[in-house]
Symmetry: D2
Subunit: 335 residues, 4 copies
Amino acid sequence: MIRVGVMGAAGYLGGELLRLLLGHPGTTIAQAVSTRFPGRRADSVHPNLRGQTDLVFTAPDELKTCDVLLTATPHRATMTLLPEVRGRAGTVIDLSGDFRNPDPAVYERYYGAPHTAPELLGAFVPGIPEMYRAELAAADLISVPGCAATAATLALLPLAGLVRPDVQIDARTGSSGSGALAGAANLHAERSGAMRVFAPVRHRHEAEVSRLTGLHARMTATGVEAVRGVQVVCHATGTADERTLRRAYRERYADEPFVRVVAHRTGAHRLPDPKLLSGSNYCDVGFAVDGDRVTAIAALDNLVKGGAGAAVQCLNIRAGEPETLGLGFPGLHPV
Amino acid sequence: MIRVGVMGAAGYLGGELLRLLLGHPGTTIAQAVSTRFPGRRADSVHPNLRGQTDLVFTAPDELKTCDVLLTATPHRATMTLLPEVRGRAGTVIDLSGDFRNPDPAVYERYYGAPHTAPELLGAFVPGIPEMYRAELAAADLISVPGCAATAATLALLPLAGLVRPDVQIDARTGSSGSGALAGAANLHAERSGAMRVFAPVRHRHEAEVSRLTGLHARMTATGVEAVRGVQVVCHATGTADERTLRRAYRERYADEPFVRVVAHRTGAHRLPDPKLLSGSNYCDVGFAVDGDRVTAIAALDNLVKGGAGAAVQCLNIRAGEPETLGLGFPGLHPV
Amino acid sequence: MIRVGVMGAAGYLGGELLRLLLGHPGTTIAQAVSTRFPGRRADSVHPNLRGQTDLVFTAPDELKTCDVLLTATPHRATMTLLPEVRGRAGTVIDLSGDFRNPDPAVYERYYGAPHTAPELLGAFVPGIPEMYRAELAAADLISVPGCAATAATLALLPLAGLVRPDVQIDARTGSSGSGALAGAANLHAERSGAMRVFAPVRHRHEAEVSRLTGLHARMTATGVEAVRGVQVVCHATGTADERTLRRAYRERYADEPFVRVVAHRTGAHRLPDPKLLSGSNYCDVGFAVDGDRVTAIAALDNLVKGGAGAAVQCLNIRAGEPETLGLGFPGLHPV
Amino acid sequence: MIRVGVMGAAGYLGGELLRLLLGHPGTTIAQAVSTRFPGRRADSVHPNLRGQTDLVFTAPDELKTCDVLLTATPHRATMTLLPEVRGRAGTVIDLSGDFRNPDPAVYERYYGAPHTAPELLGAFVPGIPEMYRAELAAADLISVPGCAATAATLALLPLAGLVRPDVQIDARTGSSGSGALAGAANLHAERSGAMRVFAPVRHRHEAEVSRLTGLHARMTATGVEAVRGVQVVCHATGTADERTLRRAYRERYADEPFVRVVAHRTGAHRLPDPKLLSGSNYCDVGFAVDGDRVTAIAALDNLVKGGAGAAVQCLNIRAGEPETLGLGFPGLHPV
């Protein structure tokens, strides 16, 4: 059994990590650390875990060694924390935004503060198995990309060489992305039914997409009515026709267990919709073309394939386990 | 023009008071008081008022005299505040819970604290024109009932003498009832899609219903997915048949401008649904009968007929204006 | 491997049966029958099954023999169908409403038509393991109760002897209960955000609750904003105190794998909420007491514990498999 | 009083026309025509009109003359209908898609059928007062643009000369845009919580935007969780800085009663959100800039400023009435 520690275990990503690990036949939770709720039962914070576990949160200063440490701690706090805790585990998989961009200048530009552990940035392998499977199998430091970055990257990867480099990405996100500590703007009465353009330009994840895809990505982001889910609609231009594009998508993802090509010509479910993916580790990708205009679309659950599920997938790869272990939930319909 | 002051103007009820008063041809807003946001434009807090007003919030200690003062301030704080400010206006209409129950023991039982201005309790006329129109025309102190209390009272009034006194009321409410200062349990990710039984027994408004109707009312309350809206389903027993009940409802509300009897036998809209009433001052009431079982149903917008709209209706009555002035919005469909 | 046939496989319950059976290690789907879509891939109708199966629907007249036949066909049609197909399988588990009430007069009263197979009614064991586990282990005909009936029955069972027989049940349901063939009243624009009292008195499931619990149950039902989920709030009277009730609930369900007692004094999740149970086979039950008033509450996913999950649980019992096999998904939070 | 006839009065746009006309001090409804429901009360179909009117729908063949005829009839049917009925009124204001594009080839390309009344196409003035106020004052034939076309056009107009011609528009829409006759894909259980990219390329309204703005517009469209509301996010490139853009927006709309510039740097309501506009005739427009990237955003209620409200605004202009008459509802918050 792989002994796994979770930091930030009382947050939304932390809760999903616990859910997935509890259902995983090859892992045991060594420790669930919460700064806010040490001493409280995990199922008092994550009520879906009632009957699944008697786990109690521990304080950060009680952290013990384990095989794999998953850090689902806040941006900025994590770059301070990580150098302190990396010695406690053979592998650290970070879900925060702090180690996603290898260039500290990019970090500062998008996160508004200088990076305090720039020497570590180059050591992280991006937690996106569809690109870095071999490296992940040997990585000691893994950084799971942002949820919209993973979605956009998977939407765009098959287009390499088929579209011009300038890509405009339109991301739509659910409210869980704001976390369990969100403020008054995320009260239900304020956020319900909203179409809130919270990043009309320069969403943080655009830098990750540019780096991962080699394209020049720009991203806007809008909060829409949903708790979970990210959808990206990517606007590109190129000359490939529909048949070429379809082949590119099919070939790129033929062997991927968690990427499905969803690009039908008709039907209510013809293109990726995150509503179908709640709780699942799938990223659905699709496309459409009209003349020189190519639209690439992806959907995922921000807390699973966009976070905790990707982390467990990386953990499986790193540990030499079957990649899909513990990640079998397919999502619901209708829902 | 009636000069109206609003205290608690940055809250949700305060915002609705401003909206209704700005659209009211017979009133002018003398002052909008906010403890939290003195000096800020009202439309920065209530964005639906953009283009409607340049009003700026003032601090509580700047309160001036006016003709009518509307207090939409928090429970407990209001019983302290009201004795201080009642001299500033000929009429005070209170929307808080502090002056709804004439008996201070009832207040303490349901609000968990002794009343600090018990001498005033008897002086308030309930702000429910369907029962107290004549008294309201001369009242200096008016207390608008709780939103679920108004709904249940209007649902039950026609049943006087037709049902046994024990009545079980099941209230369902939207999230705006928790106010603009609600806590983490009301974050969108937590509250969205919920069916949260927050008062399985002894909801505060049951005491008001008992007092207003003379019945022995018990109330449970559940938060459901909605921002606005209260619906009550009241379970009673009696021997009246459908025809008798229909006549009782029709006669009771024949002359009421804001109560509609909605009790069809079929159709998606056969019975009261608050979704149709957002922004309107209607309370729809209906009923059904099966043997000795009588179900009475009412729906309203908690911020309008359950709060700000009722206050403006009372203001109109007190001022001798047409009762419907400024309250003409009928609600939307579909919505 | 148990060979399972599913009739009505293109409906919502049918889709959930397929999802659960595909994830079940002890079953294989012998056939998925659809009257509407013979020849179409199952994942074209249930898009969450993409990548899970290549199953194609067959026509009803192609039905072959199998070990267990699950009928998720419409009310009224099923009572004609079942006598024709029961010979095709050793065990038939019916999810329709047609075989839930042993008395044909009760059926006619609640379903508005005479029963056409009254001779079979007495042969069905109710598919509620918490009451009929031993009988289910040997049953050839099983009828899964209505979703609200299961919820109310599980909420009320521990109160046997502790409350008076008259019980008023208030059920709230999501839109999936209307099925994939629902009409214009269930269009999103009409149904969204609704609080639609579609059964102000005499909901069909009340007869089932009365029969299963021995109480005299009355049920109202309201459609609220949700796709999945049933919550019942049951109003009873009695003299038991909180401690007695807590013990009764705990003891009654101490060994039940899919019933959790959720009855905290505070917190956003203090009482059962179906939002946490989407996709899971749990039924959460809770209670509160105020004087002689007892409120019992239950929540479940109408398509799982209220339908397909209960059927699979019964199948496991009948087949001598571990009862929880294939039913491990715990639900999500936040969601 | 202006005598107004409404065709298609039982649809969603028809219902909003009735609501607005009933609240309009200068109009009287001469006739409300419904093909589906002749003889039924209008408030049986539009339940928000209960207590507002006793109007009964008439059949199409009973159409009489009136001053202004509003046609809210389906696409394709309207191009046949309009030549037949235009003689019944001095002014016809059409809300369908059939007379929006002056070029019949464009119509055929986007609507998939040849136009049957091409000789009329050039006679229609677009019902967008912000561009055609003078022409509307004398127009006999007016065609209200598509909801997303109006939003995008108003978002983009101030950018004339400031951005390059290629513009990518991302539209998000509520479910009411599919109309009261929508099919199974719009059932609540299917459509709820969806992010459904129903037009990944070449949404119909892009041709209108190109014509109205002189830009080369491409539009994608996604159905998101909302009943009402359209939001467009337009991606353009140019060299203007923030100050220049702000001035351009302010100047362009300085005198417009129904366009508000909403472009704050922070806050939950910093940019246009249709949730605030339900029932109101406002179109909010805003923008943001990052280097050479300009994002323009607009929001409106598809049934009001995107349909019925625009029609009434045009009617006011044509009749020489104050333009805002009957259109005073400002929208709600929270909602």
